[in-house]
């Protein structure tokens, strides 16, 4: 399949390894990956903070970049959720019927990575090897907006060497919430401290999820505490193979 990758602005800037892993994984599964270079940001921060009208040029940019794609895949559930739920809502009062049609036509072809693999391609074992103790945090957008359900867990269970530990109170938000994390810093950190407590309680080495943004929040707290526990995007786990580890140590 010809897969157009929507990398998202923060993966491009802060977490290139997540994008690289997504490319490696999809190519290993025999797909052709394209990266339309005129893509930037879906506009989520703007539309969630009350600047939905200002973000309309970014909707137009996204449509222009991906209009001809067979499928669009993104390693970010919150960006996919923004595209699926906010785009048409933002355009309601604009008279731009052509853009509305383009968005309605494109949205069904936009997938979050784990949903693409499990639901669209029907793949669960992607041939990955990752000898680590891992816990999975279902981010709010993947859980409630995209309803990815068991898809990421099915993928993780099929990874050789991986010890999957269930996270208690997993459905509780980590406290990121985009600009919420800085506008309501105290409450955000109060939520984070409870999330870190449950992550650390699993004694996992790695906490994984479908969103680099939420992982940046959980990982930022865990690093500040020098907990030794890291956050890793699901794509990076799925991209790993035996060749990446020598005597169990990551190269």
């Amino acid at each position: 399949m010809r897969v157009a990758l929507f990398i998202t602005c923060y993966n491009d800037t802060l977490f290139p390894q997540t994008g690289i892993a997504t490319v490696r994984l999809l190519e290993r599964l025999g797909h052709t990956v394209e990266f339309p270079e005129n893509q930037t940001c879906c506009g989520q921060m703007h539309s969630n903070t009350g600047y939905g009208d200002e973000a309309i040029p970014l909707i137009r940019r996204f449509v222009k970049a991906f209009r001809d794609a067979e499928v669009v895949v993104s390693p970010s559930s919150s960006c996919v959720s923004n595209i699926r739920t906010a785009y048409l809502r933002s355009l309601v009062d604009t008279g731009d019927e052509a853009l509305k049609r383009d968005v309605a036509d494109l949205v069904p072809r936009v997938f979050e990575l784990s949903q693409f693999l499990v639901e669209k391609l029907g793949v669960e074992d992607v041939g990955a090897y990752y000898p680590r103790r891992v816990t999975y945090h279902p981010t709010c957008n993947s859980l409630r907006a995209l309803k990815v359900g068991e898809a990421p867990l099915k993928l993780l269970r099929a990874v050789r060497g991986l010890d999957l530990i269930e996270l208690p109170d997993a459905q509780e938000c980590c406290g990121f919430g985009g600009t919420f994390a800085v506008k309501n810093e105290d409450t955000s950190v109060a939520m984070l401290s409870d999330k870190m407590r449950t992550v650390l309680g699993t004694r996992a080495e790695i906490c994984t999820a479908l969103d680099s943004s939420c992982l940046m929040h959980i990982g930022g707290g865990l690093h500040r505490l020098r907990s030794g526990v890291r956050t890793v995007h699901l794509a990076e786990i799925l991209a790993s193979t035996e060749g990446d580890f020598i005597h169990g140590e990551r190269r």
Binding site: D12, Y51, R144, Q171, C173, G175, T179, T187
Partner: protein
């Protein structure tokens, strides 16, 4: 109600709340307990999702023809011997209640728990007119005796524990001996209240539902204090928001299943009181229904905001909310707290007095998932954020957001910004993490590290492959 600039913002109040060990424990325990109870009784109902949809569509239907239904209710109540009053705002509603009390030379009234009367500050208005209101709901009594403020729409004293209530009752009810056993605390309140039920000649209530075809008003409560107030006094006044209507008696089948399971986690609510006008020789001999607008028709006129009026005040969204369960209700500085408070307060009291509330959410969506009438609270929150931005003047945030759009709308500018960030972060970065900074980075890094911008972006890597 007059709107004033927001004096206490959510972040300021929440900062204090999350640092309060006792509060965190009280609220954390209470919300966890009630969440589990709700989840268990909702799971028992095989057609729960159908019930939610029925509740939502009944509310939507009624609100779409509210003009017609309000007149139908007025006619039915009047025909049954009740008197109907229309109040544009809280001041008008309070004046109507006070006039009724003065006509009967009443100096004391007993009250059924009612958030609507809190919304219009009725108790303050009554006291100013020399009339003393007595709250009879146990939690409302605790709030009133403690000169406290409600922190939960269903369980107003949720922020208090048994030891604190024991101390309050001993002090305010003049008791020399009292244990902190719930049964003893309830008995103390009962002794105090019984005399009021038997002697005070007028009661004021809110209303959960107004049934249009029969003219019946419904109050749902758990302690029996409501039943006493609704049956013993000679005069009964009910203040009801205009959104509380349901078309027919039959529709109660839906709401009396949705409400108790969502609110207290019970299969059936203990006391469901229904009354239709006046019954000669039985119960109150004078019944007044005050229909309150107080900006509800403005909410109705707003395409996205109007779903807020579906609310049946169950409080499931408060209990499930990760923000509420850590800050408690006082941080919302409103009689409506939690996710529903964050959308209702700015719409009823004016955005300028509550502009920080639409931002008091991580948009996690748990509230929408549990709402028995399917209010898409995250959608309304985002909609109200847009209004808050539109109503605010110049802010640094607006400037930054505008600049960010220009950057994101031009891949070259984005790349330039990435390059600048790699240089600008140097004073704050070590070993791949930023630990301090200015503006939003400072807020982030107070308690969290931030990954430094790496030397190669994904875009850079992609080009190396070509």
């Amino acid at each position: 109600m007059a709107s004033a600039a927001e004096r206490h913002t959510f972040p300021e109040l929440a900062k204090r709340a999350v640092a309060d060990t006792q509060l965190r424990r009280n609220i954390g325990n209470a919300t966890q307990t009630i969440r589990a109870k709700r989840a268990a009784v909702v799971a028992e109902v095989p057609d729960w999702e159908d019930l939610r949809e029925a509740g939502r569509s009944l509310k939507e239907h009624t609100l779409r023809s509210l003009d017609r239904y309000l007149v139908q209710l007025e006619e039915a109540v009047t025909k049954a011997g009740g008197q109907v009053h229309w109040a544009r705002d809280g001041a008008e509603a309070s004046r109507i209640v006070i006039e009724i009390a003065e006509r009967h030379s009443v100096k004391e009234v007993i009250k059924v728990k009612s958030i609507t009367t809190e919304e219009i500050k009725l108790n303050e208005a009554l006291e100013a007119a020399g009339i003393r209101p007595f709250e009879t709901d146990l939690a409302e009594l605790i709030i009133q005796l403690g000169d406290d403020v409600s922190s939960h729409i269903l369980v107003p004293a949720i922020h208090r524990n048994r030891a604190e209530i024991r101390e309050l009752f001993m002090r305010k009810l003049g008791l020399t001996e009292l244990s902190d056993r719930p049964s003893d605390l309830t008995a103390a309140a009962r002794t105090y209240l019984r005399e009021k039920f038997l002697t005070v000649p007028m009661a004021v209530s809110g209303a959960n539902f107004g049934i249009c075809d029969t003219g019946t008003i419904c109050v749902v409560e758990s302690e029996g204090n409501g039943r006493m107030c609704l049956t013993l006094p000679q005069v009964l006044v009910s203040v009801m928001g205009v959104e509380k209507l349901v078309p027919t008696w039959e529709d109660m089948e839906v709401f009396l299943q949705l409400l108790p399971r969502s609110s207290t986690g019970e299969r059936m609510n203990p006391y469901n009181s229904f009354w239709t006008g006046v019954m000669p020789g039985d119960g109150p001999q004078e019944f007044h229904l005050v229909l309150l607008d107080n900006r509800r028709t403005d909410v109705l006129a707003d395409r996205t905001g109007r779903q807020t009026l579906n609310c049946i005040r169950c409080s499931a969204c408060l209990n499930i909310c990760p923000v509420y369960s850590r800050t408690g209700g006082h941080a919302y500085h409103s009689e409506y707290q939690g996710p529903i408070g964050a959308i209702l307060t700015p719409q009823l009291h004016g955005m300028e007095s509550a502009a920080s509330l639409p931002y008091a959410s991580s948009l996690c969506g748990a509230c929408y998932e549990v709402c028995p009438v399917k209010i898409n609270i995250p959608e309304v929150l985002v909609h109200l954020r847009t209004r808050a931005v539109a109503q605010s003047g110049f802010t640094l945030e607006k400037l930054a957001m505008g600049a960010a759009i220009r950057m994101f709308d031009n891949p070259r500018l984005l790349e330039t910004a990435q390059k600048i960030a790699r240089v600008a972060q140097r004073p704050f970065a070590s070993d791949g993490y930023i630990t301090g900074g200015i503006g939003p980075v400072r807020q982030w890094t107070k308690a969290r590290d931030l990954p430094a911008v790496p030397s190669q972006s994904f875009r850079d890597w992609w080009r190396t492959r070509r």
